[in-house]
Symmetry: C2
Subunit: 395 residues, 2 copies
């Protein structure tokens, strides 16, 4: 895979060498079970807790509010099912509860919601505009005394739209005051750590999901951070690890790597975001100029409402699934939509919901940059893509 | 930690160098998301599927019946909750179902059962004798048309008792024929791969849980193997990974390492079991001879009903929690009971249930050998322990 140009940072990121180095001893001599009382166990325990403190400091939250998970999907499930099950366990019927989300969430949010619906909880979907931004007026209409949870992505994984978290929190606060209730606010922040602040208090959320593999940490590990007022019920059952919220022997090496990656990602998210954002802006201009059929999905680059590394275009009429294969052969790794939506065909739900245009939804290309991406990368990609389009038009 | 003598193989095992080497490329250049269609993604996908085939071959089962999990706890939960939820989804009320287990299971089985009980499923506990072996006569009495699942450890994690899986299967078969029903048989085989065959067909089970960290694989990964007739409902929801049974980006590196470890463990379990069993037998004789207060918990060494590497003794009157700390300081890593039962004090439920003797249950020492353990290790351990006991008696 010489000279590959990897432009699928929303799907997976390379493991930070610093994180890998930190993992090393826990993949060799320090293999103890953190629940064991001997030295081998205690050194593993210390590593897990030091990593928790490290993440807590990076996110400015108390360590005991950080729970290690097996990744973003589990984190989102634990947040969504965990809140509702805890409220249910406290005596409220499922049918007395409603939750609010959007129709453009990652499947791990969307299908957790569907699981709640099957238990009798009412799932309300707030409208999103053409850019994917939550409609605050509609949100306000949906918030009544039955709502216990609002869940959305901090930044959408396909089109990169950054949701107005402070405005949402304000509305939730107002509804809480009005209805004398708690409305927990969950943010799926998997796409955020490299590009946006994840300082917990600054987000106004009650629950925030992170996934290490999206910010240069290892796969199979993430964190769920919660506010003090949140009660959570576990979704799996077993030993008392992670305050009983996530039983099972802790994945020590990966936890250590995840902490390093999250700390590193958050340390200079602003500089990274600015420099990559500049490359992205040049890239989008270039793409749209040379491929006039292309339209940008999501928020304008200049809006401040788009992840710095996200490009998502539609080229109506083009088989973009095939185009990604052609680009792959030419050395470029890009995708059509979220990897978790399945590698197989099918239109983008996100673009369908936001634009209402099936031609756009079935012809998406997602190009997500990394810190080392350059305008030259996109220029050569554009050339290959342009030639491919011309070839297709000749048929 | 020079000259440490690690005797807690039931809690955690060192990562096999072969497994670590296999993981290496997936912790560096091959970081793609297996759901992505580009080369980086496809190489990751190929690795996950090759690992699945490797495990499938080691366990002699079809690859599509192997599901990657985040470890033993999740595997047990997916098996137990997954079977019941699938039967429930097919239209059967929770209150029309019963499940059978024992009172000496790992918390990830015991508490998953408790979760079922809260949903209205009747949980029936079959008696175990003083050695921890399931009482087949009692089992027979418990099996009626309401039973949908029987779950037990293949080998108990504290006292090492190997359950009579074939005799259990026979009884389940008879009950299935009599009541025209399906009774799925789940084995928590976390402790087995190094010491017993895990060939799927030879076990007669419908569901078998393995955990890589118990057989020299990495932490945070395991497999659930199922028979063709099993329908499972997922316990977490998201992307379609693992046939929808376990959504979330696959933990590629750990999966690759787990496959190597399971293959290696199963390749020569018999030779390993024989040689370590011989060391264990010598060790037990030595321990009981030099510490006459000690009694062996579980099945006799000669019975063929005890894991080859398991020693579990009680020294009534001794604070064994403290004794493990003394042994730790002297260089020996041992435990009192299962790590997942919590590092804190408290008697062993397993020994309490099997012996009915609180003095024995509150004074357990679990010593679990590895392939490199020697009689000399146990002789020096015995010396330290003996001196400690004498010192305690002087008070």
């Amino acid at each position: 895979m010489n000279e590959r140009i990897y432009l699928d940072w929303a799907a997976a990121t390379p493991l930070l060498p610093l994180a890998k180095a930190a993992m090393e001893p826990y993949l060799t001599e320090l293999f103890g079970n953190p629940s064991a009382i001997h030295q081998e166990g205690q050194r593993a325990r210390d590593a897990v807790e030091a990593a928790r403190t490290q993440v807590a400091r990076a996110l400015q939250v108390r360590p005991e509010l950080v729970t290690w998970t097996s990744g973003g999907t589990e984190g989102n499930n634990l947040a969504i099912l965990g809140v509702v099950e805890a409220v249910h366990a406290a005596g409220r019927a499922y049918t007395d509860m409603a939750v609010v989300t959007t129709k453009i969430e990652h499947p791990s949010v969307g299908l957790a919601m569907e699981a709640l619906a099957q238990r009798g909880v009412e799932v309300r979907c707030v409208s999103v505009g053409e850019t994917g931004k939550i409609d605050l007026t509609h949100l306000n209409e949906l918030l009544d005394e039955r709502v216990v949870l609002m869940s959305t992505a901090y930044a959408n994984s396909e089109i990169g739209t950054i949701e107005p978290v402070h405005a949402i929190r304000k509305q939730l606060n107002a509804a809480e005051a009005k209805h004398q209730t708690h409305i927990y606010f969950h943010l799926d922040a998997a796409q955020a750590p490299l590009w946006l602040t994840c300082q917990f208090d600054s987000l106004g959320a009650d629950l925030v999901t992170l996934d290490a593999t999206k910010c240069c940490g290892p796969k199979g590990v993430g964190v769920l951070v919660r506010s003090r007022r949140v009660e959570l019920a576990p979704t799996i059952f077993g030993g008392g690890q992670e305050q009983g919220l996530r039983p099972g022997t802790e994945n020590v090496a990966s936890i250590v790597g995840a902490a390093k990656a999250i700390e590193w990602a958050q340390a200079d998210w602003r500089e990274r975001s600015e420099s990559v954002g500049a490359v992205r802006n040049t890239a989008v201009t270039h793409l749209l100029e040379h491929i006039p059929q292309a339209v940008l999905n999501g928020a304008p680059c200049s809006s401040g409402e788009r992840l710095a590394n996200n490009i998502n275009i539609s080229i109506p009429g083009l088989d973009t699934e095939y185009a990604t294969v052609v680009l792959d052969t030419a050395g470029f790794a890009v995708s059509t939509k979220s990897a978790c939506s399945g590698a197989g065909g099918g239109a983008s739900t996100v673009v369908q919901e936001t634009t209402g245009d099936p031609a756009r939804a079935s012809a998406t290309l997602r190009i997500t940059l990394g810190p080392d991406s350059t305008p030259a990368h996109i220029q050569s990609l554009t050339e290959v893509l342009k030639k491919h389009i011309e070839k297709m038009e000749d048929f």
